[in-house]
């Protein structure tokens, strides 16, 4: 076992040694295939890095805190706007429209072409939009401290334009602060607007429904079962009047008959002369009767007002009292004669009596005529009342027919009224909060660190730049070396030749070269190739220096670039 392990170890060591030897052989024999590509590619990469756009970074730190008074007053749920502001910070900062507006204020990018009327050309608009997009992409927020009511945030901007970077960042920050401050107001205004719009909608719908209700009520009086029907009072009055008219007609008919009989009896001498008190005596209207009628009308009017204007039901005590009063008045009216006898002294002499008799006869005739007229008027009035009552009955029947529709509309009106009341109740607190907000008690921003002027680019970093450039060079050099080694399928060692062919390798003969060739090779080996290597390394060193200065000291690099003489002085000075 031990022997086997030793064998394996020996084999392993031999294998590793062989591999290392092969690697070393390749490195030694192909070293220039590595060195020159490495130097060349690294130099090219370093020189190309000079044209890589530099990215400069600026930052500012702000503290954002929610107003505790505002939060506590508005209630627990009123942290929503603050949370929303916190969540939407990146979107608010990177709002392209806002950034474009800032760029427009700053007239950036510089040198944009515009038309005669001052409007930008489409190409300029596209350039500005591209610049805004670059700014938006370079904006980054980093929360340094976070709590439910307070944040400390670092706003960073990475941009290729070092000159305008601080100003742009400052404007974006200020615009964000103003936007965030108005954010709660905006939310509230949106809510208020929503409530108001809903309220308006309900109001308009309610007006429409009420209009329908009014139309129903006008078209079909008494359609609302909960409201006293005015036509009922009219109906009752008409019925009462009809009864009175019937009674009056009956009385008048009876009196006329009596008067006509009396008149016929007076022309008959056999008949004794009756006293005026016993016959048709002169009568006049009964004032009490008229007074009771006025009282009845007054009571009916009060009942109507109570049911319609004050929305009293029949069970309301006032209405019941008025009904009782109406009933007693109607009973009294029925017992009160509409006219009363007027008492007068009779003349004593015969002429006077004859004259009085003639006068009485004329008077009777007149009274008969009047009675006939009254009876006719009463009958006419009775027929009118009958027509009115019939009409009222027809209206009532129609109202009953449309009552279900009316009630449906009325329920809708009630629902809308309730909804309208709810919106109105919500609007109150919002207006209260907005009043508070208008006094600047919302979100507070405090500047902790202002934007500073940037001098050195952050991208590309010199470390990454060197790693990438030299990495590319190393990779290309190594790949070139490996590629040449792989492509070269010739035999490198005699041992390899013998192993490959399977025939004995008699001898390895060194290369026979002439003196001229040997001289050329020597010159190439000891002069040309080292000189080329030194040149390549020098070029790489120069490119490295330029790349380093362009990142770490842009001012010095620009000075060197603008005046090559400075470069010489710099090199001399550096030496």
């Amino acid at each position: 076992m031990m022997n086997m392990q030793n064998h394996l170890e020996e084999f392993s060591v031999t294998d590793v040694r062989h591999t290392l030897g092969e690697v070393w052989r390749v490195v030694c024999s192909r070293r220039w295939y590595f060195v020159f590509p490495f130097c060349t590619v690294s130099t090219i990469a370093l020189l190309c890095s000079l044209w890589v756009p530099r990215q400069y970074a600026g930052s500012t730190v702000i503290k954002r805190e929610h107003d505790p008074v505002f939060a506590s007053m508005a209630g627990e749920n009123w942290t929503q706007p603050y949370n929303e502001i916190r969540q939407r910070m990146n979107q608010d900062l990177k709002d392209l429209s806002v950034i474009e507006q800032i760029l427009e204020d700053m007239k950036l990018p510089e040198g944009l072409e515009s038309f005669a009327n001052g409007e930008l050309t489409p190409m300029s608009i596209a350039a500005r939009q591209a610049f805004a997009a670059e700014i938006a992409a370079g904006l980054k927020t980093t929360p340094l401290e976070t709590s439910p009511q307070r944040d400390v945030i670092s706003i960073g901007l990475t941009l290729s334009d070092a000159e305008h970077l601080p100003d742009i960042l400052q404007r974006i920050r200020d615009r964000y602060i103003s936007t965030a401050r108005s954010k709660t107001t905006k939310v509230l205004r949106e809510v208020e607007q929503f409530f108001q719009s809903e309220s308006d909608r309900c109001r308009s719908q309610l007006a429409e429904v009420q209009k329908q209700l009014l139309e129903y009520e006008l078209q079909y009086p008494g359609i609302d079962p909960e409201v006293t029907d005015k036509s009922r009072a009219e109906d009752a009055a008409l019925v009462v009047e009809r009864i009175q008219l019937e009674r009056t007609i009956a009385d008048l008919t009876e009196k006329r008959k009596a008067a006509a009989d009396k008149a016929a009896g007076s022309f008959n001498a056999s008949q004794p002369m009756v006293r005026p008190e016993d016959s048709l005596q002169p009568t006049g209207p009964n004032p009490r009767y008229a007074e009771i009628q006025r009282e009845i009308e007054k009571v009916l009017r009060e009942i109507t007002d109570g049911r319609t204007v004050r929305f009293m039901t029949e069970q309301h005590p006032v209405i019941q009292r008025l009904r009782t009063r109406l009933k007693s008045l109607q009973e009294e009216l029925s017992q009160t004669p509409p006219e009363q006898v007027i008492t007068a002294k009779l003349p004593a002499s015969p002429e006077a009596a004859r004259e009085a008799e003639e006068a009485a006869a004329r008077d009777r005739e007149q009274r008969l005529a009047d009675a006939d007229a009254k009876i006719g008027a009463a009958r006419g009035r009775q027929s009118e009342i009958e027509a009115q009552l019939k009409k009222l009955e027809e209206h009532r029947a129609l109202a009953v027919e449309h009552r279900q529709d009316y009630l449906k509309v009325k329920r809708e009106a009630g629902r809308l009224e309730n909804e309208l009341n709810a919106w109105a109740q919500n609007l109150g607190p919002i207006r209260h909060v907005m009043t508070v907000e208008d006094r600047d008690r919302t979100i507070h921003f405090t500047m902790i660190e202002d934007v500073r002027q940037v001098e050195k680019p952050v991208l590309p970093s010199i470390r990454n730049l060197m790693i990438i450039c030299f990495g590319i060079g190393l990779a290309v050099g190594a790949l070139t070396m490996l590629f040449v080694e792989l492509v070269d399928r010739s035999y490198r060692t005699v041992k390899q030749l013998g192993t490959s062919l399977g025939i004995p390798v008699i001898e390895g003969i060194d290369e026979i070269v002439s003196q001229a060739v040997a001289r050329k090779r020597m010159i190439r080996k000891y002069f040309l190739v080292p000189a080329a290597a030194v040149a390549a390394v020098s070029a790489m060193f120069l490119a490295t220096t330029l790349a380093y200065l362009s990142v770490e000291s842009p001012g010095a690099y620009e000075a060197l670039r603008s005046t090559p003489a400075h470069a010489y002085q710099f090199v001399i000075g550096a030496k």
């Binding site: 490959s500 004995p504 001898e507 003969i509």
Partner: protein, 316 residues
């Protein structure tokens, strides 16, 4: 140490003796010698194998001495004056085994020679085709250098044959005219004796490619004449090293390999794609050709040391 120094001294004396013998033989025309005696190979075959091993061991020690010095240090140990018997010979600078005989690279070629000689203990005549997967891997330079280093063993008759009718690199390396050559022999326009080029090293001859003119190289190599020519030159030489076209480009090597006793593959390190090498080797083996080994060309010194330490570490 004393034994090693003694052996080295003995090997050096043996080599000088061999060179002297070679110079004496080189005074006579090589073609005449080959054609007249026709027994050279038999004489060489009579050399005892122990003798060859002794020579090889001496050469190996020389190589080790040189490799230990590495490069210029090895060259600085080059024996001066009479110890360097090679007469003035203008060849291409790539022929390092002629120009810098004591360099480390020459020692590496000597190692190849040693490997070949040790493999051929019976002393048979060998005909080796040297090929590669693609062009410019160093097969012609390897052929030329290997021929030169083989010819250092004076009792061995070595012939370098250029069968790459399109490249004709061997004649450029040895700086000899390309024509007349093997193509002319195969077409019957010339004889072997007319086409073989002698070198200052008496036991090394070169057979250039020649001009195919209107015949295609494949047609020439597939002709019965080619087999007869190869049989003849193999009879006359102990070692025939044939430079061939690359495997991936032409199929000539298949024909040439069939005429030879073995194939050596040259693989240029750090350049030739391994898949092509494997593909070429597979193609050769699928044609029943005897690939005896491969030579890693253009190695770095570290690779050479690696192989050296791997293969010969146990000797020390």
């Amino acid at each position: 140490m004393g034994r090693i120094a003694e052996a080295l001294k003995k090997a050096q004396l043996e080599r000088e003796h061999q060179i002297r013998v070679g110079l004496a033989e080189s005074t006579a025309p090589q073609a005449d010698r080959v054609s007249a005696t026709g027994e050279g190979p038999e004489e060489v075959c009579e050399i005892p194998s122990s003798r060859i091993s002794q020579i090889c061991s001496g050469l190996t020690r020389n190589r080790l001495t040189s490799i230990r010095g590495l490069g210029s240090a090895a060259t600085s140990r080059r024996p001066a004056g009479p110890a360097d018997p090679l007469p003035p010979w203008e060849v291409h600078p790539s022929l390092i085994c002629v120009n810098e005989r004591w360099s480390s690279i020459a020692e590496q070629y000597r190692a190849i020679r040693t490997w070949l000689l040790r493999r051929n203990t019976t002393g048979e005549h060998a005909c080796l085709a040297i090929t590669s997967s693609v062009q410019r891997e160093g097969k012609s330079v390897t052929t030329a250098n290997l021929a030169a280093i083989m010819a250092e063993v004076r009792h061995l008759n070595v012939l370098a044959v250029d069968c790459d009718f399109r490249g004709c690199s061997l004649s450029r390396l040895f700086m000899v005219p390309n024509s007349p050559g093997l193509a002319d022999v195969l077409t019957g326009r010339a004889t072997l004796a007319e086409t073989m080029v002698k070198t200052p090293l008496g036991n090394l001859a070169i057979l250039p490619a020649g001009q195919c003119q209107d015949r295609s190289p494949t047609e020439l190599l597939n002709s019965p004449m080619a087999a007869r020519v190869f049989d003849e030159i193999r009879e006359r030489h102990h070692y025939v090293l044939v430079d061939t076209p690359p495997v991936q480009r032409l199929s000539d090597v298949g024909v040439i390999g069939a005429l030879c006793s073995g194939i050596l593959m040259v693989v240029r390190m750090h350049r030739t794609p391994s898949n092509l090498v494997r593909q070429s080797l597979h193609w050769l083996q699928s044609n029943n050709l005897n690939v005896v080994g491969c030579i890693a060309a253009a190695c770095s010194p570290e690779d050479a040391r690696h192989l050296y330490s791997d293969s010969r570490n146990d000797d020390y």
